[in-house]
């Protein structure tokens, strides 16, 4: 009797709540940390990127129009989905990063806990970052943090899952939609986690994940005029040049720093805008 043959998975893009191949038809070979073949992963094109931005722009309005309570529940459900598929994520992180199983388990646990942390922020940010302003006049004046809009993320190259979560959860939690480029050489954990958004009640297009060649996609990401902010943490030595390109449309630019405190709200603050409303008071 022969052993059962595995059913291998095809890794595709996550765009607008669907799982398309690249419109270009291209794929590239991804190997595990030990050099063995892992998968042929979709190699996204500039056109895939543009389509993801269109999807993100439409989804962002739905996402922001949901209540903060609802956004929190959706993010929490994403954590629930990840928790129930922990073993699968551990396996992917192990293969991608070459970690010992115990370390991969810890990494996945931390990633899930971070999603939980952010799920609790959705309905706190307004109070923590906003407030009423005692202007000298007959006005009720208040400032609210509102999402910047569509955020382009170059996810960290080394930390395939935790790094990805750190990069996408913060902008999503405050009401942005995200177009993320997964780690070029270690894309599968991010794809698996992003697939779980489909069963977490996210409006399609809130999180779009592209796999492919970072060098090919980062410049179109940094120059796209309908992207409001970029997280360049995973762009390595390209980061400075991309930050220059991002200036073309005055994008908000975030880069994680080595000494960042995990409780810092710098990333959240980078991708919200303070909107201040003056309303007259009178009889």
């Amino acid at each position: 009797m022969s052993e059962r043959l595995d059913v291998k998975k095809t890794y595709k893009l996550v765009v607008n709540g669907a799982f398309p191949r690249s419109e270009s038809g291209r794929s590239y070979q991804v190997v595990a940390a030990d050099g063995k073949f892992l998968a042929n992963v979709a190699q996204a094109s500039r056109k895939d990127l543009r389509e993801a931005v269109v999807a993100a722009r439409a989804a962002q309005i739905k996402w922001w129009n949901a209540t903060a309570y609802n956004r929190g529940q959706v993010l929490y459900r994403w954590a629930e989905m990840a928790e129930s598929r922990r073993e699968e994520l551990v396996e992917h992180v192990q293969l991608a990063e070459g970690l010992k199983k115990k370390d991969a388990q810890l990494s996945v646990a931390r990633a899930i806990d971070r999603i939980v942390w952010y799920s609790g922020w959705t309905d706190k940010v307004t109070q923590v970052l906003g407030g009423a302003n005692p202007v000298a006049g007959p006005f009720f004046n208040f400032s609210l943090p509102v999402p910047s809009g569509v955020i382009g993320v170059v996810a960290p190259q080394q930390s395939s899952l935790e790094g990805f979560v750190e990069a996408v959860a913060a902008p999503i939690c405050v009401g942005n939609a995200v177009v993320a480029l997964a780690s070029e050489l270690r894309p599968t954990p991010a794809i698996v986690l992003a697939e779980m958004t489909a069963t977490s009640d996210f409006p399609g297009g809130v999180l779009n994940v592209l796999t492919g060649f970072t060098g090919e996609l980062v410049a179109p990401l940094a120059t796209h005029e309908d992207i409001d902010g970029v997280d360049l943490t995973g762009s390595g030595e390209l980061s400075d040049e991309l930050a220059r390109l991002a200036a073309g449309s005055i994008k908000r630019v975030y880069r994680a720093r080595a000494n960042d405190d995990e409780n810092s709200l710098r990333q959240l603050r980078t991708f919200v805008e303070t909107s201040t409303v003056w309303h007259t008071i009178g009889q």
């Binding site: 923590v128 970052l129 407030g131 302003n133 005692p134 202007v135 000298a136 006049g137 006005f139 004046n141 400032s143 910047s148 809009g149 409001d228 400075d240 040049e241 930050a243 220059r244 991002a246 200036a247 073309g248 449309s249 005055i250 908000r252 630019v253 810092s264 710098r266 603050r269 805008e273 303070t274 909107s275 201040t276 409303v277 003056w278 309303h279 007259t280």
Partner: protein, 487 residues
Amino acid sequence: MTDHSLTSELGGLSYDPAPESASIARLQPSYGLFLDGEFTAPESHEQFASLNPATEETLATVALASSADVDTAVACARRAYTKVWSKTTGAERAKYLFRIARLIQERSRELAVVETLDNGKPIRESRDVDIPLAAAHFFYYAGWADKLEHAGFGASPRPIGVAGQIIPWNFPLLMAAWKLAPALAAGNTCVLKPAETTPLSALILAEIFQQAGLPDGVVNIVTGDGTTGAALVDHPGVDKIAFTGSTEVGRLIQERVAATPKRLTLELGGKGANIVFEDAPIDEVIEGIIDGIFFNQGHVCCAGSRLLVQESVADEVLRRLLRRVDQLRVGDPMDKNTDVGAINSAAQLERIRELTTWGEEEGATRYTSACELPDRGYWFAPTVFADVAQSHRIARDEIFGPVLSVLTFRTPEEAVAKANNSKYGLACGVWSEKGSRTLWVAQRLRAGVIWANTYNKFDPTSPFGGVRESGFGREGGRHGLEAYLDV
């Protein structure tokens, strides 16, 4: 209708001039740079003239700071930061700022006169808006200096270091206050670069710093042109750049600091939509539209330069608006009756003329006030364009002058879509008696500031700044501290 076809129904009324006295300004013939608490000798620098735009006469000459001067200024600021200011307690910093606020109040009439002479804005505005608000900003941020741990940025937020601050010509002293007050409260030292055409009130402010006993080098002021600003932006000794000005220049600055550790905040251009719903109180609406676009000759980044009127009331609003425009008193900025003063510079006047020519060429209907304009100086009569389409340049480009573009809408959705159809996102106005609709619209507008049933209101406690290509970062309020803290 053609140009100058407006008729005033109150045409018979006139006002005698009520001029403020220029001698109150007590200007010196020439100024040096303000470095390390002292003015350098004027003759040690190349000088350039600061003109009165209402007369084209030279008010004074000021020093053109070279890159070597900027080096010196940054070195002074660094030394003051390391040796003095970073060792000064928050409570002591607060008292310096309170002193400065009081000194501005004491010299407010002189400052108002200087501002109006140098900028061309009506004395009524510099007296009632610019100078009191500048004092209020110092007063507000003074109180923050020893309470930073309560500002919401962590238990012990630290200053950034040396801030390079580049300000525009439209509110010269007020913009200096917006930049300096939060920076100093947060514990930074500063190199301030005033606008080329309006350097004088900042130099009076330097005298105030001397009177306040502010430690040497905590604020250094380098007058000059674009090359001076560029030297400051590029200086490796600067930790933070804060810029207010055009989106074009802001983009260049963002590019130039992108590959450096410098922090950056930008307050850039705008094309504010002033949205009028059919239920709005029309008398207040007309005054609000006027304030929105003709305040400070329209030299306001948040000006309500696109009027969006609901179709059902568009004819009436336009008719009454044009009647009101014809009553605006345009002329001598030093006259206390003047509503609209001089355009700040020949270059700005040229830009306004170019864009309004585009308005006519692209098919909008132009109405221009029949007011008489003085023979000398830079003037532009208040102008309204009707029948404007969203694709017209006058609906897209920032004119930064007394020129209003009128568009119409039918539904709230359409109003929001048209208001947001801009690369800018600084400010919007919403006029309606229905609070729920106002808040619904406000939630959907992509803008940093939304005025409901008012326009062009500013307050030190209220964060100001843009989204999208209007820049990032806030000035004013608790949020304004973030720009000057290492958080």
